[in-house]
Amino acid sequence: MTLGFKLKKRDEPWQWGAPIILAGALLFSFIVSSLLLEGQGKSALDGLYILWTGAFGSAFAFQGTFLKAVPIFMCSLGVAVAFRMQIWNIGAEGQFALGAIGATWMALTFPNMPWYGQLPLMFIMAFIFGGIWAFIPAFLRLKLHVNEIISTLMLNYIAILLLEYLVFGVWRDPSSFGFPMTVEFSEGGIIAGIAGTRYHWGIIFCAIVGVLLWAFMRFTRMGFELKASGEGPRVARYAGMPYGFLVIFVMCVSGGLAGWAGAIETSAILGRLQPSLMVGYGYTAIVVAWLARLEPRNIAFAAFLLAALRVGVENMQLKMQIPAAFGEIMEGIILLSVLAGQLFLTYRLERKQDSAREA
C-alpha cells in the first residue's frame, strides 16, 4: 500500500483557483504566524486583532495604509508592463530615484511658478528621467545583448549614489546645518491634500494611470503586440512586430511610471529630496507584481494588502512589543505560501494509491 499523493497536470486551468489559493495561503500564513506568536507567549488572537486595527481598524489607520500603498502600486505597475513582455526590469528602485531627482530639479529651478506650471514640469521631467534610466539597459540589451537583469540592478546602485551626491553636495540646503536634504519645495511644487486630508491628488493621478494602462493593454493593438512578444520574441518578429521598438517602449514606460512614483513620494510626502526617500519600494514592487500575476487591478489589491501588513505590524510592535523582524517573517511566510500555492493552478493532487491499483 502506498501513501501520499502525486501531482498531475490539469487539463484546463483551475477557474476559481486564484482566489481560493490566495485565501488558503493567507489562512495558512496566519496560522503559522499565530503559532509563532503563541511560541513567544503572546496571544495570537490579540495579535491578529491588533494587526487588523492597525491596518484598517479606523479611518486613521486606513489612511496610513492607503498612502503607503501608493508608491508601491505605481512602481509595481511599471514593473508589470515590462514583465508582461518578459523584459526583466529589476531597476524600479533606481528609476524611482531618478524620477525623484528629475522632479526635484524642476522644483528647485522654478520655485516661483504656481502649481499648474510647476507640477506638470516636475511630472514630465520625472517621467523622462525615469524613462532614460530604463532606456539605457533596453538599448544595451538590443545592441550588445547585455542581460537586462544585471544592468537594471546595477543601475539602481548608481542612481542611489547619484541622489546622495546631489543632496550631500550641490543641492544641500545651506541652512540645514550640513545635513543632507534640499530646501523645502515651494507651495507650487507640493502635491496638495484633497480637501484638507492627507489623501493627496497624486492618488487620483495613480488611479487614472492604472486605468489607462489596463485599457492600453486590453484594447489596443500595441498592447496585444506587447503580450504576444512576451510569449515568443521570434514568433513576434516573424509576424512583423517591431520587437526592438517594443522593448524600448515598454522599458521607457516602465521607468517613467517608477519615476512618477518617485516624484509623488518626494512632492506629496516629503516635500523635499532627502536620502530617506529610498526605502526599497522598487524591490517591493517586483514582489507585488508577481503576487498580482501582472494584472493592474490585482496589483492595486496586492499593493494595498502588503502595505496593510507592514502598517499593521507597526501597530503590533507598539502594542505587543514584538520585534520588527516578526513582520518580515510574516511577510515572507505569506509570499512563499502564495507563490507555492500557485503550483495548484496548473497541477492538482491525485492519490497515488488509485493509479497504482489501476496499473
Binding site: 477557474q15 476559481w16 485565501a23 507598539l318 520585534p323
Partner: protein, 377 residues
C-alpha cells in the same frame, strides 16, 4: 468535471469565510472585556503617563538604538509610567505614520531618536498640540516639540587620548557613517585627543554611507587595517569594525555601548550613550506638568549622558590616570575639547588660540581638522 470543481471551489470559499468570520468574532469577544477594565482603571488610580520611543534600527544591534532602549527601560522603572517602542522604522514617510499612530493612541510624550524623523515629527506635532514631542539630533523645534542630543564629541575626545597612546604605527582608522556634522565633529574631537598625546599620529577616515551594515562596516575596517592602521575607531551601529580589529590582533574603540563583548582582546574603550538621566527627567517633567517645547537640549558629560566604557586591561596605568583626569574636567562642565588653536586640513587656522568653539560652530561643522586623512564628501 468542471462543474464539480466549481462546486468544490464554492464550498471551500464558504468554509473559509465562515472560519474567518468565526476568527474575527472570537477576537471581538476577546477584546471587549479588556476595554472595560481599561475604562474602569482611572477611577482607582491616576492615569499612567505613556512614553513612546521610535528607533531607526533593531534594539538588538548593541548600538545606537540599543543605547536608547536602555534609557527607555529606565523610564519604564518610574512610577506611574508606561513605555512602548517601535524599532527599525525607516526615516521619512514610515516614521511619520508611526509617530502619528503613537500620538493618536494617547501617548503623552514621544521620543524620535533619529535625525530623519525631524520633519515628520514636526508635522505630527502640529496635529497633536497636547502631546510632548522630543526629537533627537536635529535642529527644529515647535511649541510642543523640543530637540535633544548629547555632546558625544566629549567622549570621542577621551577615546582619542586612549587611541593616540596605544598606536604604534601612528595610523588610526576610523570607519564612519555619513559626512554630516555629528559624525565629522566626532572625528575631529577624536583626532584632537589623538594629537594631544601623539602629534605624529594621523586618523584615516572611510565612509560607509550606512548606519548599520555589519558586513560592509567590517570590510571598511579591513581596508583600513590593510593600510597599516593598528587602532580602529568607528561611528557605526554594528560591531563589525570591532570584530575586524580583533581578528587582526590590533586595538579598537567602540561606539554606542560597551562593545567589549564582541572583541574582548581588541576593545580599548568605547564612546557610549547613557540616555537614562535625560529620558527620566523629560518624562518626570511631563508628569509634573512643567515640560516645555521649543527647547534645544545639548548635554554632555556633566549630565552623564555621554561617557566612556571602562578602559581595557591592555591600557597602561598612566594613560588610565590621564584619561580619568580629563574626564573629571569635562564632568565638571569645563568643555576642553574644541579650544584653539585648531587648523583645518589645509593648515589654515579655523579657531584662534585660546578661543572656544561655540555651539553654532560645532553644530554646523563640515570640515576636517589637521591630522585627519580623508575628505568630507
Amino acid at each position: 468535471m468542471n462543474r464539480f470543481l466549481k462546486m468544490f471551489a464554492l464550498a471551500a470559499c464558504a468554509v473559509m469565510l465562515v472560519a474567518l468570520a468565526a476568527c474575527s468574532g472570537g477576537e471581538k469577544a476577546e477584546e471587549k472585556p479588556a476595554e472595560k477594565t481599561e475604562a474602569a482603571a482611572p477611577a482607582e488610580e491616576a492615569k499612567p503617563i505613556k512614553a513612546g520611543f521610535v528607533y531607526v534600527s533593531p534594539i538588538g544591534d548593541a548600538g545606537y538604538s540599543y543605547a536608547h532602549d536602555q534609557g527607555r527601560k529606565a523610564v519604564a522603572e518610574m512610577d506611574g509610567v508606561e513605555t512602548s517602542f517601535v524599532e527599525s522604522v525607516m526615516e521619512g514617510a514610515d516614521s511619520e505614520r508611526v509617530i502619528r499612530n503613537m500620538a493618536n493612541d494617547g501617548f503623552d510624550i514621544i521620543f524620535a531618536t533619529s535625525f530623519g524623523y525631524m520633519d515628520p515629527m514636526k508635522r505630527v506635532a502640529k496635529e497633536f498640540p497636547d502631546t510632548a514631542f522630543m526629537h533627537c539630533s536635529g535642529f527644529k523645534t515647535a511649541e510642543n516639540m523640543s530637540n535633544y542630543f548629547g555632546r558625544m564629541y566629549q567622549a570621542r575626545y577621551l577615546t582619542g587620548l586612549v587611541a593616540g597612546s596605544m598606536t604604534k604605527s601612528n595610523e588610526i582608522g576610523y570607519v564612519a557613517a555619513f559626512p554630516i556634522p555629528e559624525v565629522i565633529r566626532g572625528i575631529n574631537a577624536f583626532t584632537l585627543g589623538v594629537k594631544e598625546v601623539n602629534p605624529e599620529a594621523q586618523v584615516r577616515v572611510v565612509w560607509t554611507k550606512t548606519w548599520y551594515d555589519p558586513a560592509l562596516e567590517k570590510d571598511a575596517a579591513v581596508a583600513l587595517l590593510d593600510k597599516g592602521c593598528d587602532v580602529i575607531a568607528q561611528h557605526q551601529d554594528s560591531p563589525g569594525p570591532q570584530e575586524a580589529a580583533q581578528e587582526r590582533g590590533v586595538y579598537s574603540v567602540g561606539y554606542n555601548s560597551d562593545m567589549s563583548g564582541f572583541a574582548p582582546k581588541a576593545h580599548l574603550t568605547a564612546a557610549i550613550w547613557n540616555w537614562a538621566p535625560l529620558y527620566t527627567e523629560a518624562v518626570q517633567q511631563v508628569k509634573d506638568g512643567n515640560w516645555k517645547g521649543n527647547q534645544s537640549l545639548w548635554v554632555g558629560m556633566d549630565k552623564g549622558v555621554v561617557d566612556i566604557a571602562p578602559l581595557g586591561d591592555m591600557v597602561p596605568e598612566d594613560v588610565k590616570k590621564m584619561v580619568e583626569e580629563k574626564k573629571a574636567e569635562l564632568a565638571k562642565g569645563n568643555d576642553i575639547v574644541f579650544v584653539g588653536p585648531i587648523k583645518n586640513q589645509k593648515g589654515e587656522v579655523v579657531l584662534e588660540e585660546g578661543k572656544k568653539a561655540d555651539d553654532g560652530q560645532l553644530l554646523g561643522m563640515n570640515y576636517f581638522i589637521e591630522g585627519v586623512v580623508g575628505n568630507t564628501e
